[in-house]
C-alpha cells in the first residue's frame, strides 16, 4: 500500500464521520494550543526575567556578608561573622581587572521636603553606582567621589521621588531631610522602571557611610565588583575570595557572580517553562484519550469492513496501518490547528497585554506537533491492534 493511498483512505473515513472527527481534532487542538500558549508565556517570562537581571550589566560580582551553609546554628546565636567594611571595598578595588566597586547599604526612611514627605528606599552607595549599575543621571550629577568615610550629605533622587516631592520645582540644590538629617540634592536619576517588583525610581541614593550611620549598620550589605569584559568571572571571584579570607581570617562572606546567578535563574525559569508546558500536556493527554475512544468505536463499527479487507488480501499489518493512519491524521490535523491557535493566541496576548511578554519558541512548537503525532500513534495502536487481530471470518459475519 502506498503512503498517499493510506492518507487518502484515512481522510476518506474521517470525512465520512465529520462531526466525530471534528470533535476529536478539537480535543487535540486544544491540547496543543495550550502547550504552545503556555510555553510561549513561560519563554516570554524567562526572557523578560533574564533581561531584568542583566540590565545592570553582566560583568558583576556581588559579595555579601555571612556564609550560606547547611551546617551549624543560626548566626544570631554565635555570631563570628565579621562585617564587610569600606576598607574591604577599597582593598577589593586593587584587584587587577576590577574596574570599579560599589558598596551598598539599604534601608527605608521618610524623605521630606517642606510639607511633603515620602517613605522610600534609601540606598547608601559609593560614587561608582551610576556607572556600575548602568543607571544614568537625568539632571545634575551622581554622588561625587568624596572620601568615603567622610562623605558630604548629598543625595541623588530617583525619578519618582523627585516628581512626587518636587512636582514642577527643580530639585537641584534643594535641601531635603532624610531620617532627620539634611541632604542637598545634586542629581535626579533617569527612570529605570521596576525590577522584580522593586521600584528603582522610588529610591534615593546617599553616600554609603552616611547610610550606615543613618541605619546604625556596622556592615555593608553588599559590595559589587565591576570587572573588565572578557575576564573570567571565576578568576576575579577567586582573587576576591582570597583577599577577603586574608583580611577576615575565614570565609565569612558569600560571593555570587552574575553568571552563577543567571545560571541558577535560567534553570529555575526552565523548570517554570517545563511546568507550564506540562500543564498543557495534560490537556494533550486528554485529547489523546479522545482519539483512542473514537478509534475504538470506529474499529467496532467497521468490523465487517475489516473482514472484507482481509478477504480481498489485506494483511494484518495493512489493517494496523489503516487504523493507526487514521489516528495519526486526526492528531496531526489537530496538532496543526492547535499550533496555529496557540501561536496566534500568544501573539494576540502579547499585542493586547504588553506587560505579559510572550515568545513562541518554534522548536517547542515543532516538538508539540511531533508530540501530537506520537500521541495519535500511541492512541491508535491499541484499537488498531485489536482490528488487526480480528478473525476475518468472524469479522465478516459481524454485520
Amino acid at each position: 500500500m502506498r503512503q498517499r493511498d493510506l492518507i487518502r483512505l484515512s481522510l476518506g473515513s474521517l470525512v465520512d464521520q465529520r462531526m466525530r472527527s471534528f470533535l476529536t481534532i478539537l480535543g487535540i487542538a486544544v491540547g496543543i494550543a495550550s502547550v504552545v500558549l503556555l510555553t510561549s508565556i513561560g519563554e516570554g517570562v524567562r526572557r523578560f526575567m533574564l533581561s531584568e537581571f542583566t540590565q545592570f550589566g553582566t560583568n558583576l560580582i556581588g559579595i555579601n556578608p555571612g556564609k550560606t551553609s547547611t551546617v551549624g546554628v543560626s548566626g544570631a546565636i554565635i555570631n563570628n561573622v565579621r562585617p564587610l567594611s569600606i576598607a574591604d571595598e577599597e582593598a577589593l578595588r586593587q584587584i587587577p581587572g576590577v574596574i570599579d566597586t560599589v558598596s551598598v547599604v539599604q534601608g527605608n526612611a521618610p524623605v521630606e521636603w517642606r510639607q511633603r514627605s515620602r517613605r522610600t528606599n534609601i540606598l547608601g552607595t559609593g560614587p561608582a553606582a551610576s556607572t556600575v549599575w548602568q543607571i544614568r543621571v537625568a539632571r545634575g550629577r551622581f554622588l561625587p567621589a568624596d572620601d568615603q568615610r567622610a562623605a558630604r550629605a548629598l543625595v541623588v533622587l530617583g525619578s519618582k521621588v523627585a516628581s512626587e516631592l518636587f512636582r514642577e520645582v527643580s530639585p537641584l540644590g534643594q535641601v531635603v531631610r532624610i531620617g532627620g538629617e539634611r541632604y542637598r540634592v545634586v542629581g535626579v536619576m533617569e527612570s529605570k522602571g521596576q525590577m522584580l517588583g522593586f521600584d528603582l525610581d522610588d529610591a534615593v541614593y546617599i553616600p554609603t557611610a552616611r547610610a550606615m550611620g543613618l541605619f546604625n549598620q556596622e556592615s555593608l550589605m553588599e559590595i559589587d565588583l565591576l570587572y573588565q569584559a572578557g575576564l573570567q568571572s571565576k578568576t576575579v571571584a577567586d582573587q576576591a575570595r582570597r583577599m577577603l579570607i586574608a583580611r577576615h581570617g575565614a570565609e565569612d562572606f558569600t560571593i555570587t557572580t552574575q553568571e552563577e546567578m543567571l545560571d541558577v535563574l535560567g534553570s529555575v525559569l526552565d523548570i517554570v517553562t517545563l511546568a507550564v508546558g506540562g500543564l498543557g500536556a495534560i490537556s494533550l493527554l486528554v485529547g489523546g484519550v479522545g482519539i483512542m475512544t473514537i478509534m475504538t468505536i470506529a474499529v467496532t463499527e467497521r468490523t465487517p469492513e475489516v473482514g472484507l479487507l482481509r478477504a480481498i488480501g489485506a494483511g494484518r499489518g495493512q489493517i494496523l496501518q489503516l487504523f493507526i493512519g487514521e489516528a495519526v491524521v486526526l492528531a496531526a490535523i489537530g496538532g496543526f490547528c492547535g499550533l496555529v491557535a496557540g501561536a496566534g493566541g500568544a501573539w494576540l496576548l502579547g499585542a493586547l497585554v504588553p506587560e505579559l511578554p510572550t515568545h513562541t519558541p518554534w522548536e517547542y512548537a515543532l516538538y508539540a506537533e511531533i508530540l501530537a503525532a506520537a500521541i495519535g500513534l500511541l492512541a491508535g495502536v491499541l484499537p488498531a491492534r485489536h482490528a488487526a487481530g480480528l478473525d476475518p471470518i468472524e469479522a465478516l459475519r459481524a454485520e
Binding site: G307, A311, I312, G315, R316
Partner: protein, 222 residues
C-alpha cells in the same frame, strides 16, 4: 489446481466441539464450475473459507496450484488472497462510504498498484459489467443487483485464478440474481475457476459439477 486431502476443521461452540469439516478430500481442476450445496451447518462456507485461505485446517493438506498452503504465514496467505483468489459474498460487503469505483479499486490499493493503472482497470471492468455510469454512486444509491456486480468487479479486478462465491444471489430477486449468475458464468467461460455455495437447486443444476455436503462430509460429487 485445488487439492484438498483429509481436511479436518473443528469449532468450539459453547462447550461443544463441532466438526465443520471431516476428512474432506477434494480435487478441483482449473476452469471448473463447481456448485457446493447442502443444508445449513453442513460445512459449505467453511470449505469455501478454507479454499479462500481465510481459515486454516486443523489437519490435512491443501495444495493450490501445487503449492502447500497450510504452511504459509499469515502475510503470505494475504498476498495469495490478493492475487489469486476473489470473494463474492451474499451481503455484498461494499464499503458504504466509498463509491462503486473506489470499492472496486480497493484490492489494487492494497496491492500497491499505481493510480493511473488503477483508474484504467476500474473503468474497463465497470464498463464490462454494465455499471460504468454508476461508478460515482455509493452503495446505498445502487440496486441490489448493481451492488453485487460492483462486488464481483472488485473480486476479479486483480485477475484471480479462483472466484469463490458464497450464495451470491441469496439476497437478490430472481431477475437481478439471474444477471449476476450470467456474469459469473461468463467469467468462468473466460477461464476463471468458479466455486459457488448455493441453496438453490436451480442454480446448482447450471454448474458443471455439483458437490453435496452433509455434516462436514462430501456426500455426493457429480
Amino acid at each position: 489446481m485445488i487439492s484438498l486431502t483429509r481436511i479436518c476443521r473443528e469449532f468450539t461452540v459453547g462447550d461443544e466441539r463441532v466438526a465443520a469439516l471431516r476428512d474432506v478430500d477434494l480435487e478441483i481442476g482449473s476452469g471448473e464450475y463447481v456448485a457446493v450445496m447442502g443444508p445449513s451447518g453442513s460445512g459449505k462456507s467453511t470449505l469455501l473459507n478454507m479454499i479462500g485461505l481465510l481459515d486454516r485446517p486443523d489437519s490435512g493438506s491443501y495444495l493450490l496450484e501445487g503449492e502447500d498452503m497450510t504452511s504459509l504465514s499469515g502475510s503470505q496467505q494475504a498476498a495469495l488472497r490478493r492475487h489469486k483468489i476473489g470473494f463474492v459474498f451474499q451481503f455484498f460487503h461494499l464499503v458504504p462510504r466509498m463509491s462503486a469505483a473506489e470499492n472496486v479499486e480497493l484490492p489494487m490499493i492494497l496491492a500497491g498498484i499505481d493510480s493511473g493503472e488503477r483508474r484504467r482497470r476500474v473503468g474497463e471492468t465497470l464498463e464490462a459489467f454494465g455499471i460504468g455510469n454508476r461508478a460515482r454512486h455509493r452503495p446505498d444509491q445502487l440496486s441490489g443487483g448493481q451492488r453485487q456486480r460492483v462486488a464481483i468487479a472488485r473480486a476479479v479486478i486483480m485477475q484471480p485464478r479462483v472466484l469463490l462465491a458464497d450464495e451470491p444471489t441469496g439476497n437478490l430477486d430472481r431477475v437481478s440474481g439471474g444477471e449476476v449468475i450470467d456474469i459469473l458464468e461468463d467469467l468462468n467461460r473466460s477461464g476463471i475457476t468458479l466455486i459457488m455455495v448455493t441453496h438453490d437447486p436451480e442454480l446448482g443444476k447450471r454448474a458443471g459439477r455439483r458437490i453435496r455436503m452433509v455434516d462436514g462430509r462430501i456426500e455426493s460429487d457429480s
